[in-house]
Every structure is written in C-alpha cells, then in structure tokens.
Symmetry: C2
C-alpha cells in the first residue's frame, strides 16, 4: 500500500507508458518520506528499540544499504521521525493574557500527548536541540503566551525551555513502563498493578528507623497515577514561573530573582 503523500505533487497516478520500475514487480519507489513513514509504523507497533535500519529495510522488502541513499544516518532518521511526529501537535489559539497559565499547561499537555502516543520517541529529543518547524512553533507559542501573561522575557525564555525539558522527561519516563509492559507480555492494568504492588511492598518493608518519613508516607508516595503526577509537576512549574510576574496580587516576598 502507499503511504499518505506528504508533499504537494506525487499523488498523480503513474502514467501507463512508464514502465513499472524494474522487473521485480510493483515495488514502490524508496523515498525519505516513505522510509520515515515505515519507521514510525515500526515505532508505534514495537517501540523504538525495534526501529533498526535492518528492520525498516525489511519492512520495505529491501536491504539496509538501500536506505542510506535517502537518509544519511540512523540519527538523522530518528530526527526525521521526531519532526514528523511533532507535526501532529495542535497549537492552541492565539495568546489570551487572562488565561496564560492555562494556555501554558495546554501546550505542555499537547506535547506530552503526542510524544506519549508514539511509544518511546521521547528518548530522541532529550538532548538534541529540536529544530523541526513544529517544535519551533510550539516554542514560539509558549513564549508568546508567557510574555502576554507578563512574564519577563528572560524568565519566559528559560521557563519555556525548562518546561519543555520536564515534559520530555516525563514522557520518556512513561514510555519506559510501556516498553517494559510490552516486554512482559501482560496487559497494561495487570502490569501496573503488579509493578506498583512490588514498589509499595519494597517501601513499606524498609527499616522504619532509618527511613521514617518514607515508611510513614507510603500511602502518599504511591498515590496517583502517571497523569496525576505529570499534572502536579507541571502545576509546580507554572506556579513557579508565575511568581516572576511583577506587580502580581500575590507572591511578593522573594519574587524576580
């Protein structure tokens, strides 16, 4: 089957007089887009570790060497996959100063959602400056929203980057559990229940004299699911950045650095 066409042309049917490239039959033309599409299919189905040059080539009924005509590296392939994934992010409407906190969180949620929907792709952006158009647009929007809300420029610039780091890290963290669950062959709920049970037992059975706070608060330590915790950390960050807004009707004891 043909992948969805990405660029403007190419969706035309092949002229009948042009021979169907090669005697090996209806082989599809290799192209960067096709390779990236295929790699993302493998990613979604089996996780990032399954995305190898050989595996992608096999999926396209060819050898690994063939990919290097369209992609210089595995690293470049991963970057391209990330760029493509980022295109799925929906950017919220224009900045609304009255709702700037909510908008910052909406953007963070959107990034988190898209990264989480594609297995452990979140491993890729950790540590590589994202230069894809979509990433840049997210960053631009986050910045605009904060500036509209009255956050000073430097705090907004750094804050946006820190929030981005946090979102990435949490998405990656979550994807690891997904990978382990996949490897264990269990259902999601069963895996989670078993895993959390083990951690709870581990914490609860620590020597209470050396770890009093931990043992006494096992209930709170274990409460909430991944989404609750992501939301909590995000709220921490947003409250923190809000404290840099000058002349606010709150938070005036240690504000503004």
């Amino acid at each position: 089957m043909f992948a969805m066409e990405r660029s403007e042309s190419t969706s035309l049917p092949t002229p009948a007089w042009r021979k169907q490239r090669k005697s090996t039959g209806a082989r599809q033309q290799l192209s960067q887009d096709l390779i990236v599409d295929t790699a993302i299919r493998v990613l979604d189905a089996e996780g990032l570790d399954a995305v190898s040059m050989r595996r992608v080539a096999q999926e396209l009924d060819t050898g690994p060497a063939s990919l290097y005509a369209h992609v210089s590296n595995k690293e470049e392939l991963l970057d391209l996959m990330l760029d493509r994934v980022c295109e799925e992010m929906r950017i919220p409407a224009e900045p609304d100063p009255a709702r700037w906190r909510e908008q910052v969180k909406e953007i963070a949620y959107e990034i988190h959602r898209v990264l989480s929907e594609h297995a452990d792709i979140a491993r890729v952006p950790l540590g590589s400056i994202p230069t894809g158009a979509s990433s840049l647009r997210m960053n631009e929007m986050m910045l605009s929203v904060m500036l509209a809300g009255g956050v000073p420029p430097r705090a907004a610039a750094w804050g946006a980057e820190r929030i981005y780091l946090y979102v990435n890290a949490d998405a990656y963290d979550g994807s690891i559990h997904l990978a382990k669950q996949r490897a264990s062959g269990m259902e999601r709920d069963e895996y989670m229940a078993r895993f959390l049970g083990q951690v709870r037992d581990f914490f609860a059975n620590l020597p209470a004299d050396r770890f009093p706070a931990t043992v006494r608060n096992v209930g709170d330590l274990m409460s909430g699911d991944g989404e609750d915790r992501f939301e909590f950390g995000l709220e921490m960050l947003v409250r923190g950045i809000a404290s840099y807004v000058p002349a606010n009707d709150q938070a005036n004891d240690q504000a503004s650095d």
Copy 2:
C-alpha cells in the same frame, strides 16, 4: 605466593616449561565489585556508550562470558554502577524548618553534581525506580526536609519525585553535550562556543513574521549557561512546591489544590 594478584607483573616472560595456561593464572580474582569498579573507570574515561560487556572484560584481561558469573545482565551492571555512584552523594545535615527551601535545593544540587561527574550515567536512572540505599536516603532526606517545612505529605511525596525527575533529566541533558564534545575532539570551551553560535544563528535567521517572539528574544533565549538554567528550573519547582504550604504569608489564591 607467586601467582596471586598483582597483574602488573605479567610482563615477565613465560618459562618455556610452564604451560601457557598457568601464566594466565596471575590474574586477579574476578568479583562483582571489581567488575563494577572497572566499568565505572571506563564510564568516566570514555562515556556510557563505551561501557560494553566486551570492553569491561577486555579491561580485565578476560572474555565477556566471564562477567556473567558475577553479573546477570548488562542492565544489572548498569544498576550496580549507578548504586555505586550514588554512594558518593553527601547528605546534608538534619532538616532545618527555617531553611527548608535551601535544603531542598542543596539536595538537588548534590544529586546533580554526582551524576554530572560520571559522564552520562544519568541515562540509567531515567525510567528505573532507584532502589539503591543511597537513592533511598536522598529521597528520605528530601521528604523530611519538605515535611519539616510544612509541605503537606502528598505534595511533598509527589514534589520530591518530580524534582528528582527534573534533576535527572537536566543531568542527562548536560551529559549529552559532553558526549558530543568528546566525539568532536574539541576542547570544552571551543565546542560550546561553536555550538551556541550555531544555535544563535539558527534562531536569529528564522522568518520574523512566523516566529516574532523567538526572533525578538534571541538574546534571552541564548543567555546563561547550563548551571544558570538548572538553577532557574529548580527555583521554579521550589517556588511551586512552596505554594502548597498552608497558612503561608503569601500565595493564597489557588493554593493547596
């Protein structure tokens, strides 16, 4: 007495009458500790990617199969390395309610320091619940400090975990630049200058109509080094968690969830 330990003496010529096998007996006893020590030496010298079972075995003048008698997995080896590294962390004195914010930051800095000193070991704890004694002690201390400062238990439990995630993520982020610098063969300063210059150019040359906030704030986006940004994000988080302290003389519009 001969043929125990002292691997330095193996450069002696082997007596012709002694079977070759015997001379290799001058090896040091393998043990888990020795393997972990060696692996950390490789890590510090060449980065985490250089830590392979083969590489560590080679460093010990043996074959990779020999390691599996003392370590069940590469994953287990990495966990053991992390545990060992965490032992270098110094835990601050006991909780001082008046200084709880500073103490939280001190703990975070200490974790960050030790992780950063060992190349990209920070890749390991991202996504695996740390169960080493040292990690637990850090968590216990962080929890105690927050509770002493008046943070409600659930907020303290979640907050400590979120801060831990942030510290890990930032340490990992930093280690990637170190790895790339190492790969490029440049000096640290030269690498950084070149890298930041490229990013600055990239941002500055974006189309100003589509990325107005980005282009207008290039200066702020690029300002500060890694430590400044780490500090800033940490301060964001601490201010955020502080807003959960009830009956504070600040922050009372949306506190306590």
